[in-house]
Amino acid sequence: MFNTAISIVQDAGAAEDISQEVFITVFKSILSFNERSTMSTWIYRITVNKCLDHLRAGRRQKRWGFTGSLFHADTGEEAHGKQAFEHPGIQAERREQAKYLFEAIESLADTQKTVFVLAHIEELPQKDIAEIMNLSLKAVESLLQRAKANLRKKLADIYAER
């Protein structure tokens, strides 16, 4: 679940918090697990929902943060700009390219981001992704296609800016 969380929220600290929350939710809700899905699907679903909650809370905070300074007082650096994310599981020789990949993933809409991460980072079959996200198989296929198309567009822009 940590790998899923860090790939979606792109923040190791937040991913740890989410993992803790997932553990606690699973522990407290285990008796109500109705076995309509597998245990792993259920845990993935809890993880994905907590990641999406985190992303929404982050956007709400940014929206209401207009009273804060945009820059750090001591360094003058942008206070709310996101640093390039380096996934700890990427092979050393691919780190540079992976930074661009995750930058592009970050630009996707939440559902596209989630589907792409589950398909390409977690390498789950689309049938499982549909169950986790409570979507039809067709919806997952469509989201994945749109995600890839948007990633290509974003990467083309990044390449042009380099």
Partner: protein, 98 residues
């Protein structure tokens, strides 16, 4: 044309960069932290936290003070009105004589 080919090649390499990646692991101690949280007693529902108690008390005090001031001002105004208008009492009596 060559530019476009370079771009496409670069995009493919980037999309492929997650191939062979290992699963990220959390820092050591995560499980102990979870155990610690599970061992904490759950907060009773409806209990206000410290800061909320202070805010509620401050609001109550403000409402109370405003009421006291309002009624004091009103009493003073009524008393002044009676003193400044000797016919007020007579008018009232006149009304009651109907």
């Amino acid at each position: 044309m060559a530019d476009k080919r370079h771009t496409e090649k670069w995009i493919e390499e980037v999309l492929d960069s997650s191939r062979g990646m290992s699963r990220a692991q959390p820092e050591a101690g995560l499980y102990e932290r979870v155990q610690g949280r599970l061992a904490q007693p759950a907060a009773r529902p409806g209990m206000l936290g410290g800061r909320r108690w202070v805010a509620a008390a401050a609001l109550l005090l403000a409402v109370n003070t405003a009421s006291v001031v309002f009624y004091a001002e009103r009493s003073r105004a009524v008393a002044e009105n009676k003193a400044g208008n000797p016919f007020a009492a007579a008018l009232q009596t006149t009304t009651y004589n109907y």
